[in-house]
Symmetry: C2
Subunit: 438 residues, 2 copies
């Protein structure tokens, strides 16, 4: 596969301005762009096969819509966009920073045109003014699927979203397996409530959330530092240790002897999600893991994350979860949903960085046939052949560049997989041969 | 085809905020989005078949890059984007307003990775703060093809770009033909120079450019008002009247008896472009037309515009032309090019407004199969069937919503073309029937 990050592309003395793309944006050579497009198309194909409809919201959004739910760091990361022309310079619009806020607005705006549960996919760029660093971009692609219910939404859709994303990862033909690690926030919340640890829930959640980036000793110490009552530190460590296949995890959760309604509901939901994924033939690609929390505020039930067990250095590849109400800021209608996202820009960066893309077929030459008229006189015949090839769905380019045949063939060999040279003889006979470049 | 512009989508009393998209942006219901996506995919497919490589530049660009060539109205229409967070509110970045300026920067930046002539396509959104009006958008899709040479570029590529765009329009299956109207700026420039009218060239160009929106009398009057020497008004009208097929136009241009090198070069180029398009089998879709000018500054040779002769009220659908130097602001390297663009957002608006899209197949239901388990107990079997269907490349959704079978079938019928109901019997026998919704 071609290099992702190119060296400077022109003799410096000819350059009159800085032509590098802005920091935090991605820009590829055509060959790399083809690989990126191929991954994007594969993800879109899987989303379509799973019956998700496609929508595309504007990049420019009202600032009040963006700010309604943003808060905290995200609010600081929103790109504000000035009005143009004579209307002054008040920024009351911005660039969308994710697909979820525009989706919430969209569902409220278009509710009467939608069929609920609304299975929807969004693939596009979002913008966040994050500190630019390796694998973090300010302009980045996300590939989201969501299922939105009206009033209620069956827990089976949680499994459906996870299955869809797993199928998408499978389609990418990575050299290493991707696994979904799944939990349910109700289990942790119920657990803490049963142990009278609700007051410290925020700090405990934060430790669980960051545990994978800490040593086991540091995690234990952090929990002990909280001086939890009821032997809390030990019990939380017990909960955090639970992971694996459904049967074992269900047994371990039962052995905790927690008498709490929310805990029980969470265990039942997690069990059902795992059961459906097993029924769907995905047993080898899922793991229950009680360490999965996915941030603090947003998710209320199922939570999941994708990782490469053989490449723990890569970290999370994406994730998602269940939210009780998509658009509470915009409408009184209750809209529960479950969604997940593949962060394609970050994923693509990681796949290149760790050489995890199998093969490089998509990086092959862009064009199938180069049709080469030896001189102007054969241009008409060359055009006819190219048109015929295209009508058979083969890509074809007619080479008008280069003075000598050698130049034309060199050009063609860089671009195309096959060449057809058209001289006087070919025009006269109507016959031509196809040369295969190796 | 479904309505493009929806009515308000929710009971007002439940809405808590204004959820309409920003003025000047487009947002579709899923069914309309599917039609839009289908057109976009067809254009992309034709560009690929013609051997154009794909690139995607960032939406966010350095302001100095955007301003290098913008000037005039365009400069006022650039959306400036503030830096986020603590770095202050200086706008030194903006949203790209076309594909050409980022392409110029891209070609300079990536020159060493590119193969020249570089055949490149760009499909994506651009932003201009234009006054919002019917069919004019502030956020809009453009589908560009360009061929960039290094030092020189054969005139045959002008024909290739026109042929590609004509093929793209053909693929859209419109109910009315699209025709390319083609001219060459050198003809007009040489003509004016030969008649000693170069001093008034700007005003004359402007009248020619706007002639299609004026009455013949108004055009004549505007020319007379210029008080051109050498019987200029009459002669310009003579030139403007020339249009039609190649042979007739070549003869009419010859009959003007203009002895000027640039004029002769333009006539030769125009003749060659028309000849190649005829050889390519496009004779019925092209017309030479000396009124085509395409603005004042940018183009230097071939210019073309696409129109629907049977729907003159629709106006220009897109166009393009030859430019002598793509990136003169960014590099001393001479990069001649020829490019054209389909303004997809405007085109889609017009096709809907004038009902010019044949059929509505792409607007059909999004999903092929709805697989309906009668109860939870059949979910596993339903998932298996759906997975099998998807592995055969059919889209399938498992219906977990709705309590009664009737509800499930109603939901399925809105979404899918076929349904498969799975009850105890189907699970026991492993046999099921496919119900076709009409």
């Amino acid at each position: 596969m071609p290099l992702l990050y190119h060296t400077c592309g022109i003799i410096e003395s000819m350059k009159k301005m800085n032509t590098t793309p802005l920091s935090g944006t991605q820009e590829f050579s055509p060959a790399v762009q083809a690989v990126f497009n191929d991954l994007k198309a594969k993800i879109a194909a899987v989303y379509r096969l799973h019956g998700f409809e496609t929508i595309e919201t504007p990049v420019l959004e009202r600032l009040d819509i963006l700010l309604a739910k943003a808060g905290g760091d995200t609010e600081k990361q929103i790109y504000r966009v000035l009005k143009t022309g004579e209307t002054g310079e008040t920024a009351d619009q911005g660039l969308r920073f994710d697909h979820t806020v525009p989706l919430a607005r969209y569902v409220v705006e278009h509710e009467n045109e939608l069929i609920f549960p609304f299975k929807v996919s969004q693939i596009g760029r979002n913008w966040r003014g994050e500190r630019a660093q390796k694998g973090r971009f300010r302009e980045f692609y996300q590939c989201d699927v969501d299922v939105i219910g009206r009033g209620t939404l069956d827990i089976a859709y949680d499994a459906e979203v996870i299955a869809t994303l797993l199928d998408a990862y499978s389609r990418l033909k990575l050299t290493t397996p991707v696994v979904a690690r799944i939990s349910n926030r109700k289990i942790v919340t119920g657990f803490l409530s049963a142990l009278d640890l609700t007051a410290q829930a925020g700090e405990i959640y934060s430790i669980i959330d960051h545990a994978d980036k800490m040593s086991p000793e540091a995690v234990e110490q952090a929990l002990r530092d909280l001086q939890l009552p009821n032997d809390g530190a030990k019990k939380v460590l017990q909960l955090m240790a639970i992971h694996g296949a459904r049967a074992a995890v269900m047994e371990a959760l039962g052995a905790l002897n927690i008498d709490n309604e929310e805990f029980a509901a969470g265990v039942a939901e997690l069990g059902r999600v795992l059961e459906l994924l097993e029924a769907d033939g995905l047993e080898g690609q899922i793991e229950a893991n009680l360490r999965i929390v996915r941030g603090l505020d947003y998710y209320t039930g199922t939570v999941f994350e994708f990782a490469m067990p053989e490449h723990t250095e890569v970290g999370s590849l994406g994730g998602g979860g269940r939210y009780e109400n998509l658009a509470g800021y915009f409408t009184d209608q209750q809209l529960p949903g479950v969604g997940g996202s593949i962060g394609l820009s970050r994923l693509f960066y990681l796949l290149n960085e760790y050489h995890l893309l199998a093969g490089s077929s998509a990086a092959a030459k862009a064009v199938e046939y180069a049709v080469i008229p030896m001189s102007e006189a054969q241009a008409a015949f060359a055009l006819k052949i190219a048109r015929k090839l295209r009508s058979d769905n083969s890509s074809a380019t007619v080479v008008f560049a280069g003075k000598r045949l050698g130049d034309k063939l060199t050009y063609a060999s860089k671009l195309a997989r096959k060449a057809i040279v058209i001289g006087e003889e070919e025009v006269a006979s109507g016959q031509y041969t196809v040369k295969q470049f190796d």
